[in-house]
Symmetry: C2
Subunit: 199 residues, 2 copies
Amino acid sequence: MSELPRSLTRLVREFRRFPGIGPRTAQRLAFHVVTRPRSQSEGLAAALTDALATLTVCSTCFCVSQGDLCPVCSDPDRDASTLCVVEEAQEVFLLEKAGVFNGRYHVLGGAISPLEGIGPDDLNVRQLVSRVEGRSAAEVILAMDPDPEGETTATYLADLLRPHRVKLCRIALGLPSGSRLQYSDPATLVAAFAGRREM
Amino acid sequence: MSELPRSLTRLVREFRRFPGIGPRTAQRLAFHVVTRPRSQSEGLAAALTDALATLTVCSTCFCVSQGDLCPVCSDPDRDASTLCVVEEAQEVFLLEKAGVFNGRYHVLGGAISPLEGIGPDDLNVRQLVSRVEGRSAAEVILAMDPDPEGETTATYLADLLRPHRVKLCRIALGLPSGSRLQYSDPATLVAAFAGRREM
């Protein structure tokens, strides 16, 4: 009985497709699905089917949406001249919760990463250029993560969009609110000093 | 749009039920399900449904099984007089792969953990006692993990089974094969010296 049952192997393989889920975790999740009380696993199966049936991706900004257009893209009160570009759909909900932005979003679906074989063509870059061209957005805020992939992506997009005479901004890098200078890493300190503002 | 769509919230809640999956990971998994290519998520939904339809738990040893009895419990060539008690079903497949054991198994479904509120009644302990009583197993090997929960469970089961005049064994603790003495932790060294064998 050293071989896993076929349907369990299949489930392990599906869990493995998630980012950050290695072979051991995938096996642990799959075993959990089949050994815990059945009602719980049936709940997951039903939730999956429900999510796949009711959710799609906004045809304009590529955020998760319940219809062809997400609530932000279909809201006439949102400032269409300002576009905030993020890596993942999750980040749109985070920014909306923080209430920091009244424009519209564009979800890239990731960041450029030569190591992982992700180039501009694997992201919603072409669609971003079309939006900037078509609607003459006045400002594009590049809100990618402050890590190597995010910085590469921001630089790439800035070069790509510059000919379109749009104001290009990168979100500020610096010390996070509530943090301590003495516990900050060198890269953050460099960014905080380089980005210093006159008081 | 700061609220997640209802069906996405439901999916996050289902992923949260897995052990070791915190709120952030659950949200990441749920977003991944709805933003990656649809065919991949449909594959997961189908694999889940398939696993729930074809797999069950062995009525004797509580391992994952494709029928009422697992291949080990229904194999007349396996030594029914030796019982190996493990915490999780996964470990049965691991031991089978290693080919170290020709008896039968008993899956507890976890370990006693007062911190997590898991007592003997939450595990397949009563069923183990019945098996030992009923079939006069000659030897019970307690193969729980060598961590506090596993040791507690092994001690508890040893006390519980002792009146049944069965040989009780705990798997050996010591240095793992291929390891170095100088990198071993004190608890492992203590176990390795306490369990030393004459050559």
